[in-house]
């Protein structure tokens, strides 16, 4: 069985809480003003802003950022895009095509997981493995950073652990897929 040490949040990684909090404080007022001027509620502003922040971090991780200005300006652009998409307002003021070209939203962003209960099952069966795999496939960390975060001796050991974790997750998904007829093509 593959085990992983408790992950530590490393300074400089994209989910570092201090960076996240600083960006939250500096970028939220602009989005709140935007939403408030368009008749939205505090909850609308919070939802739109948090999703825009998520897009910003995902793009940074994937190395596909279209950012040309500050992170705050980028988050504002994504928030405007999300606002128009969700509330179908202001289309006449800002063409959606223009926003889509500049501030693209990940294709699977508003798509719910095919089988949400599967994720819960995987968390119970192997949360540590999910954390290790997520640091690679979602956070986009390299094997060196992963070996440091999870306490592996070197990158090779971390890579072997990653493959074993993927085997474990895949086996669980395969077993559970018996419950979902459409799961395997």
């Amino acid at each position: 069985m593959v085990t992983c040490a408790e992950p530590k949040t490393l300074p400089g990684t994209r989910t570092d809480v201090r960076d996240l909090e600083a960006l939250y404080v500096s970028a939220f007022p602009g989005v709140a003003r935007f939403v408030s001027r368009r008749g939205g509620t505090f909850q609308d502003a919070k939802d739109i802003f948090q999703d825009a922040l998520l897009v910003h971090y995902e793009k940074s991780a994937a190395g596909t950022h279209e950012i040309t200005g500050t992170p705050e300006a980028y988050i504002m652009g994504v928030a405007r895009h999300l606002w128009i998409r969700r509330f179908n307002r202001d289309r006449q003021l800002v063409p959606l095509d223009e926003l889509e070209a500049q501030f693209t939203i990940p294709a699977d962003f508003d798509t719910p997981p095919e089988h949400p209960e599967l994720l819960g099952f995987l968390e119970r069966a192997g949360k540590k493995c999910l954390e290790l795999l997520s640091s690679f496939y979602y956070e986009g960390l390299g094997m060196k950073a992963i070996s440091e975060r999870f306490g592996y001796r070197n990158e090779h050991t971390a890579t072997v652990a990653k493959f074993k974790c993927m085997e474990k997750v895949r086996d669980v998904i395969k077993q559970r897929s018996a419950h979902y007829e459409d799961f395997i093509e």
Binding site: R33, P113, L119, L122, S134, Y138, F163, S177
Partner: protein, 90 residues
Amino acid sequence: MRTSLNELREMEGFLSGTMKPGETLLFRARLLLNPGLRRNVSLLRRCHAVIRWYGRKELKEKIQSVHNRVFTDPSRTTYRSSIEQLFHKR
């Protein structure tokens, strides 16, 4: 049957685009001929999707906890009220 780690490594290389062009061509040909390999690649794609959903869910929770901290921290009263005022004017 349990797929070996080597096959898993190979499929990862194919899906991530890090496989060499010649090997990719060969792998594509094997995919056409081997339904078992097609099923395994499809399963691995779904694993990636589930892992991404897990990562996104964790980050959403982290962002929400940052929000809770910012909006309850006594040292941020002025910041908080300046934002709340935006929604009280109407």
